[in-house]
């Protein structure tokens, strides 16, 4: 096993362990921090897949924007270990068994698939900014513009939903 494969398996193990800690840690703030580490592991996988642009955008969007939003909401609502709702042990056991069977089913179905195709010569440049930008702004320019409208709608919706009404008494 070469050094590169050791890096892959280390990154994979890191990502999986951090993802399980997101699910199983009791404190919501710890969950968010572990999810940020998971995002860094996935960004490392993107780097090893020659998807450099995706790796950088992934870190900026997830670790920089979405996770900070989650963290702010958790701190705004003042959630901690004490206010964390608990499920019964039987329910947790059943959920773990259900998730495990889903994983077994997925892996078994992947095992029985035919051999996956690989391109004859792998172009290592497709993940860079210039080739991706060329595709994004020629072939996919209409979905790109539509996604900007989606963002505008999400922005207006979030502000409209989140604002406090004037006559509502201030109790916080």
């Amino acid at each position: 096993m070469g050094a590169e494969q050791i890096i892959f398996f280390f990154l994979a193990a890191f990502t999986v362990v951090m993802a399980s800690l997101v699910v199983f840690s009791k404190n919501p703030v710890h969950s968010v921090l572990f999810l940020i580490l998971t995002m860094f592991g996935i960004a490392g996988h993107y780097l090893s897949l020659n998807a450099q642009f995706l790796a950088v955008v992934h870190i900026i969007v997830y670790a920089g924007a979405i996770m900070v939003l989650f963290l702010f909401v958790i701190m705004l609502l003042n959630l901690n270990k004490e206010s964390e709702p608990r499920k019964t042990l039987w329910w947790q056991l059943g959920a773990v068994i259900g998730g495990g069977s889903l994983m077994l089913t997925l892996i078994a179905s992947f095992q029985s698939t035919i051999k996956l195709p690989i391109a004859h010569e792998i172009d290592s440049n497709i993940g860079l900014v210039k080739p991706l930008g060329k595709v994004l702004f020629t072939e996919y320019v209409v979905p790109f513009e539509i996604s900007s409208v989606l963002f505008l709608a999400a922005l207006v919706g979030a502000v409209l939903i989140g604002q406090r009404k004037q006559e509502e008494p201030n109790h916080s």
Partner: protein, 107 residues
């Protein structure tokens, strides 16, 4: 910076990794009752699918998959923003983030 593809690592490895990550996300949705953690587990599942898209895009030498990952990130960001706004609104009304309290529509 040009990293080479890892020798000996095939698409099957990435299939298994993202299957494991997706199952962890599903387990999280089943096991937790805090609505914020549920949203985070949905992000985890989206990321498992993103990783698979990127892996296939690289191994097939086709950039369409990476464009799709980009659009999935766009939708995930919009979803997180609106979902957290709805969460704050419901918290203001019921003073809890536990999903089992919001069962007015369940009959």
């Amino acid at each position: 910076m040009q990293l080479l593809l890892i020798p000996g690592i095939t698409q099957e490895h990435y299939l298994w990794l993202s299957a494991i990550l997706f199952s962890i996300g599903v387990t999280g949705v089943l096991i937790r009752r805090n609505a914020i953690i549920l949203l985070m587990c949905i992000e985890l599942m989206l990321n498992a699918v993103n990783l698979l898209f990127a892996a296939f895009s690289t191994y097939l030498s086709d950039s369409n998959g990476q464009i799709f990952v980009f659009f999935i990130m766009v939708v995930a960001a919009a979803e997180a923003a609106v979902g957290l706004a709805i969460l704050i609104l419901t918290y203001r009304n019921s003073r809890t983030t536990e999903v089992t309290y919001w069962d007015k529509l369940k009959w």
